[in-house]
């Protein structure tokens, strides 16, 4: 029995949200049931991810491989839950459960009618399924399909609010994201044409044999991938869609988009770079230098852009641009420490940023105010919300005891191992800038005269979800043991390949 | 996978494709552009057929018609001219 469950769990975690997503519209009138079902599926996903992670940890690096339809690898499609897959599945489940909980009973105000809420949940689950798929897939074309599913559901989530600006942001996002996925498809095409395989492992082997004969094709494929995923994950000069999309979406959607969706694309890029091209090619083509450089530019530019925003959610959105820079910087560190730091930072940012967006959403919902200067004294009126916001900010800035610190620690360590000096300085400057754009919010909230208005903490489910995320941040910061273990193993596996 | 000789049919069709796409870039009237898009997609279907992938040809034809019609409908509900 357990064996059967274990054997089928990799596909189950992907299928379950997708299946429920399609069942959901039939219950559209019974809101309670819909919300319950969503939360149930998310909880199930968390349990499944935890179980898979425990197995992967126990198996010491032997991944769980699931063959769709029972076909073996070069012909069939493989799902592989290795350290990376289990790690990202945990991140997905750990973030999307609180976010779903936050949406409960609260969403109708933001998106309008009940039907729209149901539609929101459908898209939410589709996105979840797609992300889970990205975590476990081992097939290049599957990457494209999942990326497209995720993109479309993200667009749907962005446009969930019945507001012209939301529609506009969604359209911009749709066009740019489709451009990105077309580029990704092109890159996959080049890989397929040169190697004749879509399975990542086989493709990588073949590539290792022939890349010296066709360096141009490899170049083109890498650059297509980089630009394609760069657009999708909002790497600095390609981030144009992000601020509008993430600030006009309903708060749970902003949280999931900033926290998870971008991370999904980054995980895909990571897999393609390290599992398909492999670290020898990355170094041979100096891709790692490009990544580090791009990350540095993104950190500085994103932070400075965030400093100039007065609208709370826009500032958080630009902060995402800056934080993505850290992850790109980590992607370019071809050593275990750096990649561990990158993965951990990715998880840390997923949790922290969704906590920040949810807290911001709760504040905006309670006050009706968008800009930071109008939120004076809110820390007294909404203590829990603001406390969670503070925890999230501290984590992003990288204060010890919170998750961001450990990510930054390993990133710096990785940089030193790679012999990079300037990126280390940039990481620190980024933290200081991050403090510069987040602490004024906290100061305004706690240390300015309280406005005489009836602002209150959100309802119980929202509070629970906020507290869950804050606890997750602190746990990741204080006792990251198994999590760090998974991340460092995944990193080590990337570097073992050829 | 090198093409030793040239398949002229495919070449002509590809040429039409390029011309059509350029036309879509330049035409100001959106209805005309969408009509060209319909032609483009039909050409595409023919190319698929020439390349021995009939399944793709059928899909492309269906999808092309579907998209053209949808775009037409939307254009008639919104504005026709490009500003």
């Amino acid at each position: 029995m357990t064996a059967a469950i274990t054997a089928n769990l990799p596909v189950f975690v992907v299928i379950a949200p997708l299946f429920v997503a399609f069942v959901l519209p039939t219950f559209a009138r019974r809101m309670r049931l819909v919300e319950g079902l969503v939360i149930f599926v998310e909880a199930l996903g968390l349990v499944g991810a935890g179980y898979l992670a425990s197995i992967v940890l126990a198996q010491k690096g032997i991944p769980i491989i699931y063959r769709l339809g029972g076909w073996p690898a070069p012909w069939g499609i493989e799902l592989e839950v290795g350290s990376l897959g289990a790690f990202f599945l945990l991140v997905i489940a750990g973030v999307s459960l609180p976010v779903a909980l936050f949406a409960r009973g609260n969403l109708t105000k933001e998106v309008g009618s009940k039907e729209r809420v149901t539609r929101f949940y459908v898209l939410y689950l589709l996105l979840n399924g797609a992300l889970a798929g990205m975590a476990v897939t081992n097939d290049l074309f599957n990457v494209f399909v999942l990326v497209e599913v995720a993109t479309l559901s993200c667009c749907g989530l962005v446009s969930a609010r019945n507001h012209p600006r939301a529609a506009e942001a969604a359209f911009t996002y749709l066009i740019l994201a489709t451009l990105g996925s077309t580029l990704v498809l092109g890159g996959i095409g080049f890989l397929y044409i040169t190697t004749g395989h879509l399975n990542m492992g086989f493709s990588s082997q073949e590539l290792g044999r022939i890349w010296q004969d066709n360096p141009h094709v490899v170049w083109v494929a890498i650059s297509f991938m980089l630009v394609g995923f760069g657009v999708k994950s909002a790497l600095f000069p390609l981030h144009l869609w992000l601020p509008d999309a993430h600030s006009t979406a309903p708060s749970p959607a902003s949280a999931i988009l900033s926290g998870l969706a971008i991370k999904g694309y980054l995980i895909c890029l990571l897999k393609i770079l390290y599992n398909v091209f492999g670290h020898t090619l990355i170094q041979a083509f100096a891709v790692h230098r490009i990544l580090v450089l791009a990350g540095m530019v993104a950190i500085i530019a994103g932070s400075i852009l965030a400093l100039t925003q007065d609208e709370l959610k826009r500032r958080l959105a630009f902060s995402t641009v800056a934080q993505v820079g850290y992850i790109y910087l980590g992607l370019g560190l071809v050593n275990t420490k750096g990649l561990t730091g990158m993965l951990f930072y990715l998880a840390s940012h997923a949790v922290s940023k969704s906590a920040l967006f949810l807290a911001a959403g709760a504040m905006i919902a309670a006050t009706g105010k968008q800009s930071i200067s109008e939120l004076a004294g809110i820390g007294r009126k909404m203590p829990i919300t603001m406390a969670v916001f503070t925890v999230g900010s501290l984590s992003l800035v990288g204060i010890p005891l919170f998750s961001g610190f450990i990510g930054k620690w390993y990133l710096i360590l990785g940089n030193l191992e790679a012999g990079n000096i300037i990126p280390v300085a940039v990481i620190i400057i980024g933290s200081v800038l991050c403090a510069a754009y987040l602490f004024p919010i906290i100061r305004t909230a706690y240390f300015e005269p309280v406005a005489d208005e009836d602002w209150q903490d959100p309802g119980l489910p929202q509070k629970i979800s906020l507290i869950l995320l804050a606890v997750a941040i602190v746990i990741l910061g204080v006792l990251p043991g198994p999590f760090l273990e998974l991340a460092s193993r995944a990193a080590a596996e990337f570097l073992v390949l050829q | 996978m090198h093409f030793v000789a040239v398949d002229y049919w495919i070449m002509i069709l590809l040429f039409i494709l390029v011309v059509a796409s350029l036309a879509m870039y330049f035409i100001k009237d959106l209805v005309h552009a969408v009509i060209v898009y319909g032609a483009y997609s039909l050409t595409m279907a023919l190319i698929w057929l020439q390349m021995n992938t009939p399944d793709l040809a059928i899909t492309e034809a269906a999808a092309g018609i579907c998209m053209t019609v949808l775009m037409m409908v939307v254009i008639f509900r919104t504005s026709r001219r490009e500003e």
């Binding site: 494209f144 077309t182 | 793709l56």
Partner: protein, 127 residues
């Protein structure tokens, strides 16, 4: 020059794919009309599809259907076309979604031009 031309002639579907991709990208980036952007996206995608299918095509190969009447021994690679089937479906759904958004935008702004919409949004936020 001659070698280049020969290479082009030998790989003409790829060449066409690149041209289509470029024209599509150009349309997306330089045309401000939302329909044009949409059409551009579709052109780009078909360029990529063309590349894939051309890679799977073998001159003189047969449609890969196993049949008594099908006597040829060389079949084309069926995988790319199967993949592009998915691609086409995805592009249709993107188009449909974009069209829905265009309708919504037209209702709120009264135009389908991206620049005009951006201008009007600024007016809205200033007010």
């Amino acid at each position: 020059m001659r070698i280049l031309l020969e290479k082009l002639m030998a790989n003409y579907p790829y060449f066409a794919a690149v041209v289509l991709f470029t024209i599509g990208a150009l349309t997306v980036m330089t045309r401000s009309n939302l329909f044009k952007k949409l059409i551009g996206i579709n052109i780009m995608e078909s360029g990529i599809f063309l590349m894939f299918v051309a890679a799977g095509n073998i001159r003189g190969g047969a449609v890969p259907i196993l049949d008594e009447a099908n006597t040829k021994s060389v079949y084309i690679n069926p995988l790319p076309s199967a993949l592009m089937l998915t691609g086409i479906v995805v592009s249709v759904s993107v188009t449909a979604f974009a069209l829905a958004l265009i309708v919504r935008l037209y209702k709120s702004y009264g135009t389908t031009d991206a620049h005009r919409i951006a201008e009007m949004r600024n007016e809205v936020s200033e007010r």
